[in-house]
C-alpha cells in the first residue's frame, strides 16, 4: 500500500531563517506531488505541484520554492522566512489527476 511521510510535525523558526520541509511517498512510482498551505478560515491553498522529477509548477508568487530531486521526494524551501509564512503545510500525492492523499502536515510557526 502507498504511504506518505512528512516531517517534521511541528517547527518553530525565527524570521529570516531558512526552511526545508521534506515529503516522501512509498509504494508507488511517478506520483503527482503537491504542497498545500492551510490557514485558519482560508481552506487549503495549493502552493506547488509536480508531475515528474525536476518539474515544478507554482500556483502563487511567494517566498517559498519547491524541488523534486527524486521521483518520490518533494521538498519545500525558503531562504528567509517571513512571519506570514506561518501555517499548516501539507504534502499530498496522487496517481490519477485529482484523488489526492495527504501527509500528516507540518505546523510551522515563524517567530
Amino acid at each position: 500500500s502507498q504511504t506518505i511521510h512528512q516531517w517534521p510535525a511541528t517547527l518553530v523558526q525565527p524570521v529570516g531563517s531558512p526552511l526545508s520541509l521534506e515529503c516522501t511517498v512509498e509504494g508507488t512510482s511517478n506520483p503527482n506531488l503537491y504542497w498545500y498551505r492551510q490557514a485558519a478560515g482560508r481552506g487549503l491553498q495549493l502552493l506547488f505541484y509536480s508531475v515528474g522529477i525536476g518539474q515544478i509548477s507554482s500556483e502563487v508568487p511567494q517566498n517559498l520554492s519547491a524541488s523534486r530531486p527524486q521521483d518520490r521526494q518533494f521538498i519545500l524551501s525558503s531562504k528567509k522566512l517571513l512571519l506570514s509564512d506561518s501555517g499548516f503545510y501539507l504534502c499530498a500525492w496522487s496517481r490519477q489527476v485529482l484523488e489526492a492523499f495527504f501527509g500528516q502536515g507540518t505546523r510551522l510557526t515563524v517567530v
Partner: protein, 109 residues
C-alpha cells in the same frame, strides 16, 4: 466571488442526527467533486468522490452533486461523536483541486 464557497460553521448536532454539509462553486467547467475529512492537527483524508451529477452512497455517507445549480452536498446519517471533524469539499477540473474553507462539525453524545 470565490471559486468554491463553504460555510465554515461550526455545526453542532446531537448524536444520531442527519447532517447536511454544502458547497457552491462558480465555474461550470469543474468536473470532479470530492469530500475530505480532517481531524484536528491531522492531514485531510479522502472520504468520497464523484465525477457526475446525482447521488453516491457509501455507508452512512451520501454525496450529492447538482451541476445545474453548481451545488454539492454531503449527508451523514446517524451521526456519531467520531464524525466530529472538519469537512472540506474539493472541486476541480483537469489538473488541480480547489478546496473550500471547510465546515467544522461537532457531534455531541
Amino acid at each position: 466571488q470565490k471559486e468554491v464557497e463553504q460555510d465554515p460553521g461550526p455545526l453542532s448536532v446531537p448524536e444520531g442526527a442527519i447532517v447536511s454539509l454544502n458547497c457552491t462553486y462558480s465555474n461550470s467547467a469543474f468536473q470532479y467533486f470530492m469530500w475530505y475529512r480532517q481531524y484536528s492537527r491531522k492531514g485531510p483524508e479522502l472520504l468520497m468522490y464523484t465525477y457526475s451529477s446525482g447521488n453516491k452512497e457509501d455507508g452512512r455517507f451520501t454525496a450529492q452533486v447538482d451541476k445545474s445549480s453548481k451545488y454539492i452536498s454531503l449527508f451523514i446519517r446517524d451521526s456519531q461523536p467520531s464524525d466530529s471533524a472538519t469537512y472540506l469539499c474539493a472541486i476541480g477540473e483537469t489538473d488541480k483541486l480547489i478546496f473550500g474553507t471547510g465546515t467544522r462539525l461537532q457531534v455531541f453524545p
